[in-house]
Amino acid sequence: MTGPLVGAAFFRLETALTHEPAWHHARALSAQAPSIRARLSGLGVTTLAGTLSLHPALGGASAAARAGWSRLRGFSRDRIEVLGADLARDRLVPRIGPHARRLLDDARERGLVLVLLAETIRAVAVPAAAQLGIDAAHVLSSELAWSPRDEATGELEEGAIGPELSPAALSAFARAHGIDLGASAAYGASAADAILLSHVGQPCALDPDAELARVARSFGWPIVRGLAAQAEVSA
C-alpha cells in the first residue's frame, strides 16, 4: 500500500474490551442449532471444553474455542451471521465499559486507525466492530471455513487468530493497511498479548494478568486497572 503510513490503535476484543473468552461465543452460538438435540450436544461439548480450558496442558481457552466452533458444523451462513450479529449487539458490546470506550474515543481523536483483534469468528467480530465505529477492513479475526453449500464445516480458515498474534500476521496486516507500528498503540490484558504490545510504539496493559503485568513492568509499559470490573457491571 502506498501513501503516508498512519498510526493505529489495536484493541483485543476478548481481553482488553470484553473480558470474555471466545469459547463463550462458540458456546452461545452452538446452543442455537435448529434442532434441540444438536443444541444440547453443542452446549455440552463447549461447556466441557471450556472447563478443560482451565488446564493449559489441555490446550487452554483456544482449544476450547476450536471445540466450540466445531459444533457449528452444518450451520448455514445466514444462521451464523445473524446470530453472530445479535450476540455482538446484545452481549459483547454492552460488556465494554465506559473507560474502555474512552480509550477507543481517545484513539479516534488522536487520529489513530482503530483495529479490532479478535480470536472470535468474523461473524461476531465485524458486527461488534461496526457498533464501535471500526471499519470491517480493520478487523483481524478468525474465520470459519465454508462448504460450497455455504454451511460451516466446523473448521477455522488458515491464519486463525489465536491468543498470541503472530508477529508475521501483525506485520502483514500493517503493511496491507499502511500502518506504522511504531506510531501505533495496542491494548492487551493477557500474557499472550505481550507479543502484540512489544511490536507497537505505545503499548498499554489493561487489567493485566500476573504474567503480563510482570512483562509490562519490566518494559516500562503503562498499566491500567479497573476496566474488567466495569465490563462485568456493564454486561
Partner: protein, 558 residues
C-alpha cells in the same frame, strides 16, 4: 465513443396512451396502477374497472382505496391536496365485473373504450389453490376471455394478460417462456374450448345432484382438482390460469402478451418496503412455522421463487410498453430463481431466525423462554407420508374429547369431588377447549401442507427469464433502473428478515385471526373519481416521437 441509443423508451411509449386495467382492487393491481401513475405520469389515461361490492359502487370503493389504502401512499405523499386533480386528469372508473361477458361493461362505455383504448391489462385473478371451480373458471378463465373480448373491440386489439409462472404445472427443471397449444403440462393433448365446456358441465351437474350448497361445493372442488391433476396441474388455480392461456393463445382477433409472475410477495420499495395484501403464498408458510408443528416437509434445496410485487409492477410496465410498441414477445416470466435463487431451506432458516429475534424481545415469558428456542426444522419426508401430524391431531382430539367428557360427579370419588370437583371440572373444560383449538390448527396445518406439497416438496421448476432481460437491455440506464426486473440485486437475507417477515406480520398474518390490517390515516381527495365519460370525444394521443428510437419501427398507425 457514445453508447448506442436505447431501442425503447417506456415513458415515451406510454406517453399519452389510454389503457384499461381490469383487477385494480387486487394486491398486484393496486401496486401496478399506483406504480404507473407514480413512475409514468406521462401516461395519457388509465381506466380502472371495478364492481359494486357490499352496496358500495365502483367509484366509491376506488375513492376509498386512493384515500386510505397504503398501496397508494406514494401518490398521496407526492401530490398531497392536489391528488384529486391529478387523478381527475389521469384516471377514470368504469363499472363492471370481470366474471361477466365483456367484463360486464355497459354498451355505451364499451363503445367509448373501443374508440380510445390503446391496450387492456388484465391483472384480475383468483389465487386460492382450492377454490370452487365455478369461481376459478369465472374469474381466471372467463375473466381473461372477457378482457380479450374488450381488447378485440379496440383499435389495436392489444391485451396484456397477467397469468402465473406455475401454469408450467407439476414439473421440475428449466421452464421455457412458451406455450404448446393444446398440450397440458404432463403431455396430454386436450382441446381448450372443449375443456372449458366440460368442466362447466361437470360443475353444473354436481350442483344439481348435491343435497346442499356445501356438498355441491366440495364435490366441485374434488372433481376440479382431480381434473387438474389428470392434466398435470397441481391445483385448480394453476389449472384455471393454464386453461385461460390456452384459450387466449387460440384467439386470432386479439394480440396477447402474457406475463407470468412467480410467487408475488412483499414490496421491496414501492409503495414502501414490506407492503403486502391478502394471504399469498409465503404468508401461510410463515404462519406454519409459528405453529406447534415444527417439522417442515420441505425439500431444502428446491427454489422458492419469490418475486417482490413492485418488481412485478416494474416489469409489467415494461411489457406493457413493449406491447404498445408492438414488439412484445408472447410470454414473459417474472421470476427470481434463474438468476438469484432463493431456496426453501434458506427461507425456513431465516424465518426461524426472524422469529427468534422477535421472541427474544417479547414481554411474554412463554415466547421469550420457550418459543424463542423452538426452531422449525426441515423434515425430508413428503407431507402425505409424515405420520406425526395425523397422530398428533388424533391425540389432541382424543384428549379433547376425554377432557370435555370429564364429569367430576362421575369420575371423582366423593372426597375429592367436594374439595376439587368444580375447579377440576372447569380446568378440564378449558384444557379441552384449548386442545380443540390445537386439533383444529393441526387440521389446518395438514390441509395447508397437502395443498402446498407440490411446491414445497414434489417439484422444483426453474423459470427462465430471458425475455424480460432482452427487453431491459433495450432501455437507457435510467429507465432500466426504473423498469427492469431487478431481482439480481435482492439480498435475500436482508429482504426476508427486514422486509418480508415484518411485512407479513403487519399486513397479512393478522388476517388469519380475523383482524383487519391497518389503513392509512384519513385523507380526503376532495372530489369523486371521474367516471368514464362515454360522451367525451376521443382524445388522440400526441404523435409518437420517442416510443421507438431509430428509424422505421411500427409506431402508431392512425
Amino acid at each position: 465513443m457514445s453508447s448506442p441509443k436505447p431501442a425503447l423508451s417506456v415513458r415515451g411509449t406510454l406517453a399519452g396512451k389510454h389503457v384499461l386495467v381490469v383487477g385494480v382492487t387486487g394486491f398486484l393491481g393496486k401496486v401496478l396502477v399506483g406504480f404507473l401513475l407514480h413512475a409514468v405520469p406521462e401516461i395519457g389515461r388509465i381506466t380502472v374497472l371495478a364492481r359494486t361490492k357490499r352496496l358500495k359502487d365502483a367509484r366509491t370503493r376506488l375513492r376509498a382505496a386512493f384515500e386510505r389504502s397504503p398501496a397508494f401512499r406514494p401518490l398521496r405523499e407526492r401530490h398531497g391536496e392536489g391528488l384529486g386533480a391529478f387523478l381527475a386528469e389521469k384516471l377514470d372508473v368504469v363499472s363492471g365485473d370481470a366474471r361477466e361477458p365483456l367484463c360486464g361493461i355497459a354498451p355505451r362505455e364499451l363503445d367509448a373504450l373501443a374508440r380510445r383504448l390503446d391496450a387492456v391489462v388484465n391483472v384480475a385473478g383468483l389465487t386460492d389453490f382450492a377454490p370452487d371451480p365455478l369461481d376459478a373458471i369465472g374469474v381466471n378463465v372467463r375473466g381473461a376471455l372477457g378482457a380479450a373480448d374488450v381488447a378485440a373491440r379496440t383499435r389495436h386489439r392489444r391485451l396484456v394478460h397477467v397469468s402465473t409462472a406455475f401454469v408450467a404445472g407439476a414439473v421440475s427443471g428449466p421452464v421455457d417462456e412458451s406455450l404448446v397449444p393444446g398440450l397440458s403440462p404432463n403431455g396430454t393433448e386436450f382441446e381448450p374450448a372443449g375443456e372449458l365446456r366440460a368442466i362447466q358441465s361437470v360443475c353444473d351437474a354436481l350442483g344439481r345432484r348435491a343435497s346442499d350448497v356445501g356438498e355441491a361445493r366440495r364435490a366441485r372442488i374434488e372433481a376440479g382438482t382431480a381434473r387438474a391433476h389428470a392434466l398435470g396441474w397441481p391445483n385448480l388455480y394453476t389449472y384455471s390460469k393454464g386453461l385461460a392461456e390456452h384459450l387466449l393463445h387460440a384467439r386470432t382477433d386479439v394480440r396477447v402478451t402474457v406475463v407470468r409472475p412467480s410467487i408475488v410477495e412483499c414490496a421491496r420499495s414501492f409503495p414502501f418496503p414490506g407492503w403486502n395484501e391478502g394471504l399469498n403464498t409465503a404468508g401461510p408458510l410463515v404462519w406454519l412455522t409459528g405453529t406447534l408443528h415444527r417439522r417442515m416437509p420441505f425439500a431444502p434445496d428446491h427454489v422458492f421463487d419469490v418475486v417482490p410485487v413492485d418488481s412485478v409492477a416494474r416489469a409489467t410496465t415494461l411489457v406493457l410498453a413493449l406491447a404498445l410498441a408492438d414488439v412484445a414477445e408472447p410470454v414473459y416470466h417474472l421470476a427470481s430463481g434463474d438468476k438469484n435463487p432463493f431456496t426453501l431451506g434458506r427461507a425456513l432458516d431465516l424465518t426461524s431466525l426472524a422469529r427468534r429475534r422477535q421472541y427474544a424481545r417479547s414481554d411474554e415469558p412463554f415466547e421469550r423462554l420457550v418459543l424463542q428456542h423452538l426452531d422449525s426444522v426441515i423434515h425430508g419426508v413428503a407431507p402425505e407420508e409424515d405420520p406425526i401430524l395425523p397422530a398428533a391431531r388424533t391425540a389432541a382430539r382424543f384428549a379433547r374429547d376425554a377432557l370435555v367428557a370429564f364429569d367430576p360427579s362421575v369420575h371423582l370419588p366423593a372426597g375429592l369431588r367436594a374439595r376439587f370437583g368444580s375447579r377440576l371440572g372447569a380446568m378440564a373444560q378449558r384444557a379441552g377447549k384449548s386442545l380443540g383449538t390445537t386439533a383444529r390448527t393441526l387440521g389446518q396445518v395438514a390441509e395447508m401442507l397437502r395443498l402446498y406439497q407440490p411446491f414445497i416438496f414434489d417439484h422444483d421448476p426453474h423459470f427462465r427469464t430471458d425475455a424480460v432481460r432482452r427487453a431491459a437491455a433495450q432501455l437507457s440506464d435510467e429507465e432500466r433502473a426504473t423498469f427492469a426486473l431487478d431481482v439480481e440485486s435482492i439480498d435475500w437475507r436482508s429482504y426476508w428478515l427486514d422486509v418480508q417477515i415484518p411485512g407479513l406480520d403487519r399486513w397479512s398474518l393478522p388476517l388469519l385471526s380475523g383482524e383487519r390490517p391497518p389503513e392509512d390515516p384519513a385523507f380526503d381527495l376532495g372530489r369523486d373519481l371521474p367516471l368514464l365519460d362515454a360522451e367525451a370525444p376521443s382524445v388522440r394521443p400526441p404523435p409518437l416521437t420517442s416510443g421507438l428510437y431509430g428509424d422505421g419501427g411500427p409506431g402508431e398507425a392512425e
